[in-house]
Symmetry: C2
Subunit: 209 residues, 2 copies
């Protein structure tokens, strides 16, 4: 199973490193980070740079793609990642996104007629891509899976691991990465966070998503 | 607040990218990835390379350090990261680790007399560093915080964010990264996973931790 993770400037690191950490543990899998050109791609913070191992042109038939989000998706319409997703999607087994990576899928016309999700602050925009926005953490629609904001990629990837290799493998991976979450607060969704926290974040134009 | 994340060959990516994603959102914070030399450092899978922005010698007084784990910690005793941790620890505000990063703290003699944790498969080894191994997800002992395996770094970092900047900031960050975990299985700890899953993983000598 070849799993390709496409990068673009100002992506959010955890969006893709979460799924990478899960999916790289699938038996007989290969993960490749891919970008316009092989080489460094810097995240939204400017503090972290990941290396793409291959250029889009070199990864033409991936079995699985995981498209991360981040502030960079707001100007993504003219970026080569959109053409690449459009080109590889017909032959993937699974086409997936995390956070605003769903907007990249949208630009590539992958979401037409499907339910899809995104970061809570951007999910409503998916209707502009012909999708029906839904507020679930992981949304499976045929071979297209979208996940909510940033950290949800871990849950998405475990779901995907089970679909690819079965529940036993997925559960083994969950134990390997000791994913038994104990957040110190219960503030991870707009339905649980205190209203003033939600309002504060909505007001931050600089909020990374 | 300067937050330094030291890298070494064959570290586990999520161990540090989870905390990075949380702590980089602290107000007035700066995250720097640091290594023996500035430049690329490759993870345990070989499929992902992160760029260190600075050399150990250039980051002499970090306020916070977050030491990731990974298979690379098994041969870490002679690596410059140990001397660096030993040198910077006396002036940090917080010295933290994720997964077997606690073994790096142990080699640097940070854990003497403290309770500490690690990946479930390696936690007992901490007694060799003068620590008392405990099976909790996040262990706070004065200014030293250790976390359990891989994904626990997100919980640790939210705890740390609250200690540094208060509960409101930590809760705002939790919402920003939409950390409202919904694992599809309940297999994330040895107390919850089915025995055959635990046994399978214990038997895998190649298991990344």
């Amino acid at each position: 199973v070849q799993i390709a993770i496409p990068l673009f400037p100002r992506f959010t690191a955890l969006d893709c490193v979460g799924p990478y950490e899960v999916l790289s543990r699938l038996p007989e899998s290969e993960v490749v980070f891919v970008a316009e050109a092989a080489g460094p791609v810097t995240t939204d913070t400017g503090a972290l740079t990941l290396m793409a191992g291959a250029a889009f042109a070199e990864v033409a038939r991936p079995d699985v793609i995981v498209v991360p989000g981040g502030p960079g998706t707001r100007k993504i319409v003219d970026h080569p990642i959109v053409d690449w997703v459009r080109a590889v999607h017909p032959t993937t087994q699974w086409t997936t996104s995390v956070c605003t990576g769903s907007e990249v899928l949208g630009h590539a016309r992958v979401l037409d007629g499907l339910e899809a999700t995104s970061h809570w602050g951007r999910v409503d925009l998916l209707s502009g891509f012909g999708a029906t926005p839904v507020s679930r953490r992981v949304v499976v629609q045929g071979k297209v899976i979208t996940a909510a904001g940033v950290s949800s990629g871990i849950d998405m990837a475990l779901t995907l691991a089970a679909l690819i290799a079965g529940d036993d493998v997925a559960q083994t991976i969950q134990l390997a990465i000791e994913y038994d979450p104990e957040p110190p607060f219960d503030s991870g969704s707009i339905h649980k966070a205190r209203p003033e926290i939600v309002d504060a974040l909505r007001g931050l134009s600089s909020t990374r998503r």
